[in-house]
């Protein structure tokens, strides 16, 4: 029976208009409150009355306002915070009352027998449709609110403990994954319960639930990151949350909150649709037997021809498969024509049948559209996988270079240089997960060769153990040797200097008669620095420290010492190759007038576990004055930037998938239009509305699943191609030889999952439309 379609859009329209109006009013109020705001917002405010355009405008106004909030709060923190809270609460209650009134009114109209009668004569089934479900609203709202609070609380508990010294908690990433999973589950269940209670999607209820129960938490959290006062009041309780969000981008922890919010809203919606689909036939019925049977026949995506051709297009591009297809088709047609002609002469009936079959095998427009949709989803998934894998490759490369040059972690001592480094090394070496330790001394100075000078980071190392922690020995270019640091006499002397010495020896000027070449300590330079100074192995360079020399009449005098280049290294990171120089630990200590080392570098077995290993080292060393840092902490800005870049890239590329979802919407709508009569027949045969939804949802899902699978295969093929065959890059420009690629299983699996989810959501609308078709109308159209 007709499901009273006409009522629902009107009601949600009303709701949307009301909300837009409320936002507009708030915006105007803000604008009046602050004249300059009004001036800034004027263009956007024009669009408010017509659409949801008011929301971003309000958000901007809100942000401007929030930017001023800290100052306001600093002046009279408590009173101001309270007043803001009260204003917010007032708005909340007023909105709730408005919604209550609106829906109460609707219900009164419905229960008025006279008006209901009029209504029924226009749209008879509307009398059978139930009203606004308060229970559903409660399920959605509480589910969403609970999900949000669970993410925050569970995360604070799980990860917060990891900061405690017992180390019993989880890594921040793992803790977040667990709490986020729990939150998503709760939102799913909330959506499921709500929708199965109402036996429909109940979009108005969901909108209200998200706006009224979902929004406050991310808003408060966003405020938190903007207001020092709130940060002080609440921040320490939520420090882990703030920490994790700040990983996304130093200055934008809000991004993290809103992403989680969006994900939870999506989970709620998914739960709703699942609940609706599973229970719309009156009782819980998750079976898909005949629905799948019918859907498979309708779309027919699992045809070998379609699969092969889409895969070929994804892997080889459009043109080559097209040419190939053209050739194959032409050959087929020719063979078939010859066969039919030959049959025609002997068996005309057989020939007619063959001709008929040939015509029947031609594709219908919908089938073609289906193939294109599969390809669209495939392209999106493939692009997502390739780009994310290449970005991971770059990240990996960067990490490799950073961790290869520096260590996985360092042990430092507060306030002074570490004179007891042998003991620290001995104790550190025994910690589980530690693979190698080496002392180091780090300071800044200048390197000079003849009249060229450059600033440098001078690192004193122990050549014997350095190799166990960093990749230094492996990055020394041929012609040099790390071991020469300890045996400076082995360093070959540059020919021009040797000639000079010989000349001096012959003429008796300079070094003294027959003096051997001066024995200088060894130094190792980066490739870029060596090129800049125009030196190679065996040449002399001077290390200059601005301080540390004798005290002259105008203060400390610079100190210089000559070294001989014992080797040149190439780490692949321009910053290191142009700035780092290595000398013997003892030489560095002497040169800088220091004792011992700056600290101890540590290599761990599993780079990703560096943080926890460093923490246990700190435990072994009894904490203060020692402290430890891992590579992630030392380069947090860089990796945060990379992560944000990847996230944004992922979101941008997901737009391709969304465009493909548009294709699916179009395809399924076409299917629905094409199958109107059959939908009527199916309803007459006893398929409930939920069954119709399931059929068309399955059709969209089949497209999505196949597209996702093909995209996954094609993406992996491309990644393997890039990895094995390689795409050359100019190392002078990119400082890397070939496009790096690393397949991360999790993110690779995520891409097709996102695609399937998007297609699920995309086919929901046409599926709902199909279920609302009036069967009598379908028969009448005949």
């Amino acid at each position: 029976m007709n499901e009273g379609v006409t009522r629902r859009p009107r009601r949600s329209l009303l709701l949307a208009a009301g909300l837009c109006g409320a936002v507009a009013l708030g915006n105007i109020g803000l604008g009046l409150h602050r004249a300059d705001l009004l001036r800034n917002q004027a263009p956007t405010m024009l669009g408010i009355g017509m659409s949801w355009g008011g929301l971003p405008a309000a958000a901007r106004a809100f942000r401007n306002r929030a930017a001023q909030l800290p100052q306001t709060l600093e002046r009279t923190p408590l009173a101001a915070a309270r007043s803001y809270l009260l204003i917010g609460l007032g708005f909340w209650l007023a909105g709730a009352a408005l919604v209550g009134l609106a829906f109460g009114g609707l219900r009164r109209v419905r229960s008025d027998p006279h008006k209901a009668g009029v209504l029924a004569s226009l749209a008879p089934a509307s009398g059978m449709r139930s009203d606004f479900h308060w229970g559903t609203l409660a399920a959605y709202g509480l589910g969403f609110f609970l999900a949000e609070s669970m993410v925050v609380l569970a995360y604070a508990v799980l990860a917060g403990r990891s900061l405690a010294s017992d180390g019993a908690g989880f890594e921040p990433g793992v803790g977040f994954a667990i709490s986020f999973g729990v939150g998503v589950l709760i939102a799913l269940v909330g959506g499921f319960v709500g929708a199965s209670h109402a036996r429909r999607l109940a979009i108005p209820e969901a909108t209200i639930a998200i706006l009224y129960f979902g929004l406050p938490i991310p808003i408060v959290l966003s405020f938190l990151s903007r207001s020092p006062f709130l940060m002080m009041k609440l921040g320490h309780r939520l420090r882990e949350l703030v920490y994790l969000s700040s990983l996304l981008g130093e200055s934008r922890p809000e991004l993290g909150y809103w992403l989680v919010f969006a994900a939870l809203a999506l989970a709620l919606f998914l739960g709703m649709t699942i609940g609706f689909v599973a229970t719309s036939s009156g009782r819980f019925d998750a079976r898909f037997s005949y629905e799948r049977f019918i859907a498979s026949r309708h779309v027919g995506v699992f045809r070998p021809g379609l699969i092969v051709s889409v895969l070929a297009v994804l892997v080889l591009g459009v043109i080559p498969p097209l040419i190939l297809l053209g050739i194959v088709r032409a050959a087929q047609a020719m063979a078939e024509r010859v066969r039919i002609r030959r049959l025609g002469q002997t068996q005309p009936l057989e020939a007619a049948r063959a001709l008929h079959e040939l015509e029947a095998s031609a594709q219908t427009p919908t089938q073609l559209m289906t193939a294109i949709s599969v390809g669209g989803v495939g392209v999106g998934v493939m692009a997502l996988i390739i780009v994310l894998s290449v970005m991971s490759g770059f990240e990996d490369d960067l990490r490799q270079k950073i961790v290869g040059t520096h260590a996985d972690g360092v042990v430092l001592k507060s306030g002074e240089s570490m004179e007891d480094y042998p003991e620290v090394m001995a104790r550190t070496r025994n910690v589980r997960g530690v693979v190698g330790v080496t002392p180091f001394l780090m300071s800044e100075g200048m390197v000079a060769a003849r009249d060229i000078m450059s600033g440098a980071l001078i690192k004193g190392i122990d050549p014997q153990s350095a190799g166990s922690v960093t990749d230094l020995p492996r990055t020394i270019l041929p012609g040099g040797d790390l071991a020469w640091l300890t045996k400076p006499s082995s360093i070959p002397i540059a020919p021009d200097e040797a000639a000079l010495v010989e000349e001096a020896a012959r003429t008796g000027v300079g070094e003294g008669e027959g003096a051997p070449v001066e024995l200088l300590s060894g130094i190792i330079l980066g490739r870029e620095l060596a090129a800049q100074l125009r030196v190679s192995v065996g040449d002399r360079v001077n290390l200059i420290s601005p301080l540390g020399g004798a005290i002259g009449p105008t203060g400390p005098l610079p100190k210089a010492k000559a070294f001989r280049v014992a080797g040149i290294f190439y780490s692949g990171m321009y910053e290191y190759d142009s700035k780092l120089v290595y000398v013997l630990l003892q030489d560095a200590a002497d040169f800088f007038n220091l004792k011992g080392a700056t600290g101890v570098e540590v290599k761990v077995a599993d780079v990703d576990a560096a943080r926890s290993v460093m923490r246990s080292i700190l435990d072994v060393l009894d904490g203060y004055p020692y402290r430890t840092r891992d590579w992630g902490e030392m380069n947090s800005n860089l990796f945060a930037a990379l992560r944000l870049e990847k996230l944004v890239m992922g979101i941008i590329l997901s737009i391709i998938v969304v465009v493909a979802a548009g294709l699916i919407v179009a395809t399924v709508i076409m299917l629905v239009l094409e199958k109107r009569k059959e939908i009527a027949v199916l309803k007459a045969l006893g398929v409930p509305n939920g069954g119709i939804v399931k059929i068309f949802l399955t059709e969209g899902l089949q497209i999505g699943v196949l597209g996702g699978a093909l995209g996954l295969i094609a993406g992996l093929v491309w990644c393997v191609f890039i990895d094995r065959v390689g795409i050359r890059l100019d190392p002078q420009v990119y400082y890397i030889h070939a496009l790096p690629v690393r397949i991360v299983p999790f993110q690779t699996a995520l891409a097709p999952l996102v695609a399937v989810m998007v297609t699920f959501l995309a086919s929901l609308y046409p599926a709902l439309k199909a279920s609302q078709l009036d069967p009598a109308e379908g028969f009448r159209s005949e």
Binding site: M1, P124, E678, V681, L682
Partner: protein, 229 residues
Amino acid sequence: MSAPLLEATDIAKSFFLNGERIDVLRGVSIRIEKGDLISLIGASGSGKSTLLHVIGTLDAPASGRLVIQGESVFEMNDAQLAQLRNRSFGFVFQSHFLLPEFTALENVAMPGLIARQDRKSAFASANALLERVGLTSRRDHRPGELSGGESQRVALARALMLQPALLLADEPTGNLDPATAAGIHSLLEEVNRDLGIAALVVTHNEQLAASLPRRLRLQEGRIAAVETC
């Protein structure tokens, strides 16, 4: 007498066409007993099909009462209605309305599949039904490869798949030549006689209608005459 199979009271239905109200049904009452074989005749546009759709719960009336097997239909939700259509009604339309992607056998088995019978038993009973309508040899053909009469027989077999209580036929022979129509007709009568399935047959073929035991005539939205042989 026991409760009737179906009782429709004061069914009214209007359409709006270009803002004008057209009253198609103006208070129709029908009572169908178990095993009845009724013809519903009337001029084109007299509302025969609409009445059939209302009785088949495919369309909602503006007012009236419809009680089927003791249950008031307008108090049921969509799922219950779907189940009612699945189990208690068999529909045969003027045009066969078979699903074009499925073979004759699959089409006949469809109501069983919708009722969540397992495929094997559904196909077994569908086979038996195809045999009954004499189309075993055409079982793997799609509707596009069947003639009009064959399609209509497949449609009849599909309507009988779950042994409904009431067969609703909307001009089942309207598109067929007289000889084929007669064949379909005798099949209908046979089904009614052998299986005890009640049938309401909409037709404007007076001759065919005359051969059925009970005749209803719809005129200007009302039952004008009830004739019983």
